[in-house]
């Protein structure tokens, strides 16, 4: 039985700046200032590639890569699927580039090449594993290299059991033997003394020295025997403790697997209506490498009280994929009927209320109906919070200033959109008359660009009018239209217009990013 070993979870990797549960949120002013400062810094960079802020621009961290290489070089890790290795490293906070670099540096024998270079790899693995064995504290203390680990463990199992048995037997035997020899010795010694006392009191004087000698000799023998016994038992204790140490290491290695089994059985037990505390088991689960182990051992989406149940056609799923909550809490209490349904499905019964429904499209080529309303501008696209509505509205309109005061800025009215047709088109759902708000004027930039375009070229003029009224698709589309105009109307009407338009474009981009 192969023993999975733990992977270097602790010392080297703990130094990585994983976002642990940080306490208080940073105070408001520094945060916003920092954000604004970084926005200001980012904007010049963003001119050519706007989402650069969504990429990692940090240089590769060599220490992280080294840790990753150590991790990836471990023989156990090599046996695991690549996706699990990547996921583990990602969870430790490595960036994609660092992970790729580590993979590049570690010799990664692909399955096809493995048989041919197995001997070389075996030797390399051995030499690699040797230093690892000393580095990694989690490894069992004496990592014997030469025999393969599985054989070794099997060997050590029997070896350990045998040794313990032999030692116990020998210890017991010694004890018994010693007892047997001691007691007769003492008895015979006592008897001799008694006899000598009775038979020859006169010879006491002579006997005494001999008696004394004998006593001394007996005492010596007794002490020797005692010390023998003590030594033997001490040795026995030492070897026993050594063996116990081996045992403990073994059990620790096995503990991982056992805990997995425990969690499995716990889940099943819980299914049967037992609300137990899972915490430590589950958190241990997560901590161990092979969060993917959970997946591979058919525990997919094992909820605290649900395990994966697969049926041939209709697979029943544990209702909520999110698994057990973490260490210090019990799992959330599920409705009783939920447990009933889970147990019903476990037994293989299908709930009776399920109907056969055909939900396939009757006409797969059905055309989408034409939109009746133009898309509305989002409140955040104008960078302003909308004004609160009148008190005359239906209950769902805010009637008063909000009872919870968040200190929010009341600014300009929300743009309802230039083509606001809701009042006419919507089926009687809005009895309230929304006070008409003039449509937001297009951003200033647009007007200047329109000005520029309105010059000589007549076709540009027509296009510009179309653009001005079609203000529905947001600034970016307007940008495209301006670009188009500059391309069509810019070739003959002079370079001045083109540069103006380009300037406007950049300004617009700035304002767009600044929002």
């Amino acid at each position: 039985m192969a023993t999975p070993s733990d992977f270097p979870l602790s010392p080297p990797d703990d130094k990585s700046p994983i976002p642990e549960v940080v306490t208080t949120p940073s105070p408001t002013p520094p945060t916003t200032e920092a954000q604004q400062a970084s926005i200001a810094q980012e904007t010049p960079k963003q001119q050519d590639s706007p989402p650069s802020v969504f990429k990692n621009s940090e240089p590769l961290r060599e220490d992280q890569i080294q840790n990753a290489i150590k991790f990836l070089s471990h023989p156990r890790v090599r046996g695991s699927p690549v996706i699990h290795r990547r996921s583990f490293l990602e969870r430790k906070g490595l960036t994609k580039e660092e992970i790729d670099e580590a993979f590049r540096r570690v010799p990664d024998p692909s399955p096809s090449s493995q048989p041919t270079v197995s001997t070389q790899d075996g030797q390399k693995a051995v030499s690699n594993v040797q230093p690892q064995g000393q580095v990694q504290a989690m490894q069992p203390a004496p990592v014997v290299m030469v025999p393969p680990p599985s054989l070794l463990s099997r060997f050590r199992w029997y070896h350990a059991a045998l040794a313990v048995g032999v030692l116990a037997a020998s210890g017991a035997g010694t004890a018994v033997f010693v007892k047997k020899s001691l007691i007769p010795r003492i008895k015979s010694w006592v008897r001799r003394i008694m006899l000598e006392e009775e038979t020859d009191p006169l010879k006491k004087a002579d006997a005494k020295p001999s008696l004394a000698e004998e006593a001394v000799a007996a005492a010596k023998a007794a002490s020797a025997a005692a010390s023998d016994v003590a030594r033997v038992s001490q040795e026995m204790m030492i070897t026993k403790s050594e063996e116990r140490k081996y045992f403990e290491d073994l059990t620790r290695l096995l503990g991982v697997q056992v805990q997995e089994m425990k969690s499995l059985s716990n889940n099943i037990r819980n299914l049967e209506g037992n609300y137990n505390n899972l915490p430590k088991v589950y958190s241990a689960d997560q901590e161990v490498y092979g969060g993917g182990l959970v997946k591979t051992s058919a525990e997919r989406r094992s909820y605290a009280n649900g395990s994966n149940i697969d049926y041939d056609t209709r697979s029943a799923r544990s209702a909520s994929p999110p698994p057990a909550p973490p260490a210090d809490s019990s799992m959330p209490p599920h409705p009783k009927s939920y447990m009933d349904i889970m147990s019903m499905i476990q037994r293989g019964e299908k709930p009776s209320n399920i109907r056969e429904i055909n939900d396939m499209p009757p006409n797969p080529n059905q055309q989408l109906s034409n939109p009746r309303i133009a898309p509305k501008t989002k409140p955040w696209d104008y960078g302003q919070a909308p004004q609160e509505e009148n008190a005359n509205g239906p209950w769902w309109q805010p009637k008063n200033p909000r009872s919870m005061d968040f200190g929010y800025e009341t600014t300009a009215s929300r743009s309802i959109g230039i083509q606001n047709e809701t009042n006419t088109m919507e089926p009687a759902a809005l009895p309230r008359q929304r006070s008409w708000v003039p449509p937001q004027p297009p951003p200033v930039v647009m007007a200047e660009a329109a000005e520029a375009i309105r010059r000589p070229k007549p076709q540009a003029k027509i296009d510009q009018e179309a653009a001005a009224s079609d203000d529905q698709s947001g600034v970016s589309d307007e940008l495209q239209k301006i670009t188009k105009f500059s391309e069509t109307g810019g070739d003959g009407s002079g370079n001045l217009q083109i540069t103006e338009i380009q300037e406007e474009r950049e300004q617009q981009q700035f304002s767009q990013e600044g929002n």
């Binding site: 408001t28 797969p364 509505e389």
Partner: protein, 317 residues
């Protein structure tokens, strides 16, 4: 405040971006374990009963999420438990629906999100570890993003950058993607436990929030993603969904298995600013209206959909 009682357990609720009084609800039978599903389109009305169903669509399998189209006012996209993605047109009668059904995901589709800036595409996140990008009129997905090592619970578009999105996964990482790039551009190991939901700050395009099984919500800035900007504690169990307000820069709404819906202001020392305990089972869906400031809706496994104004009691009549 109006309440709607659905026949099945609620999973998700979304306000329409076109009509202030319209919302869609995704529900699943038998808690979504095994059974049919149903999509309800609800209309809010000023007088009693407050909310009525205008149309509903039956599905063979559970509906886990629904999202309104940003280009067509009557169209919505549904994410189903049998791995299919279906498109419904509410202006057509139910027998003509759905108008499209895409079967590509190998497992349950957990979330769907329509692009609010480009308005032409949507994302689906599935338990088959992938995120797929689709367009309305194409017969197949445009791209598949396969990097997560476990179920992807949600994929959300950035409200300012039409090519950027974030995905939250059970492999405990949050990934930022750009559709112009071949793979993810950032990997944030956000929590030690599964990340169930994420959402972007609508007013700060570099800030997003994640919620996790570890009962916390963390707010991140992608420019300094090694440590979160804030950690919001207060929920008693896993936080199922998190949503940034469309109207206020630092307001976050969340719902959790502790049956409550909470409001947070992450820039404030004492972040929890509101708490609603109206649900009697897990609260799993939440939304804040883009058109009406302060209007919120939530749904849960107690088969109820509540719509209310912030500051008011959802159960008040």
């Amino acid at each position: 405040m109006p309440v709607f009682k659905a026949p099945f357990n609620g999973y998700s609720v979304k306000f329409s971006p076109f009509y202030e009084s319209r919302l869609a609800v995704a529900t699943a039978q038998n808690f979504g374990i095994l059974g049919n599903g149903k999509i309800h389109v609800l209309e809010l009305s000023p007088g009693p009963p407050g909310v009525t169903e205008s149309v509903s669509f039956d599905t063979a399998d559970a509906v886990y999420d629904v999202s309104w189209s940003e280009s067509h006012d009557s169209v919505l996209v549904a994410a189903l438990g049998d791995g299919s993605v279906k498109i419904y047109d509410t202006s057509l009668p139910p027998p003509s629906n759905p108008i499209r059904s895409f079967q590509e995901h190998a497992r349950e589709v957990h979330s769907v999100d329509y692009n609010p800036t480009r308005r032409d595409s949507f994302l689906t996140a599935s338990w088959d570890d992938t995120v797929k990008l689709w367009a309305m009129d194409l017969p197949a997905s445009i791209r598949t993003f396969k990097e997560h090592a476990y179920c992807v619970y949600q994929a959300v578009w950035n409200p300012k950058h039409g090519d950027v999105f974030a995905s939250a996964s059970g492999d405990c990482t949050l990934r930022i993607w750009d559709v112009r790039e071949p793979g993810s551009t950032m990997i944030i190991p956000g929590h030690d436990f599964e990340i169930l939901s994420c959402d972007w700050n609508k007013y700060d395009d570099c800030v997003l929030a994640t919620s996790s099984v570890d009962k916390t919500i963390k707010v991140w800035d992608v420019r300094s993603y090694r440590a979160p900007l804030a950690v919001l504690n207060g929920h008693g169990y896993a936080v199922r969904k998190v949503k940034f307000s469309p109207h206020r820069r630092s307001l976050i709404a969340s719902c959790s298995y502790d049956m409550s819906v909470c409001l947070w202001d992450y820039m404030v020392e004492d972040a929890l600013v509101g708490r609603y305990d109206h649900h009697t089972e897990f609260a799993v869906g939440i939304d804040m209206s883009v058109l009406v400031e302060g209007l919120m809706a939530s749904t849960g496994w107690d088969e109820l959909v509540y719509v209310w104004q912030q500051g008011m009691d959802p159960r008040a009549s």
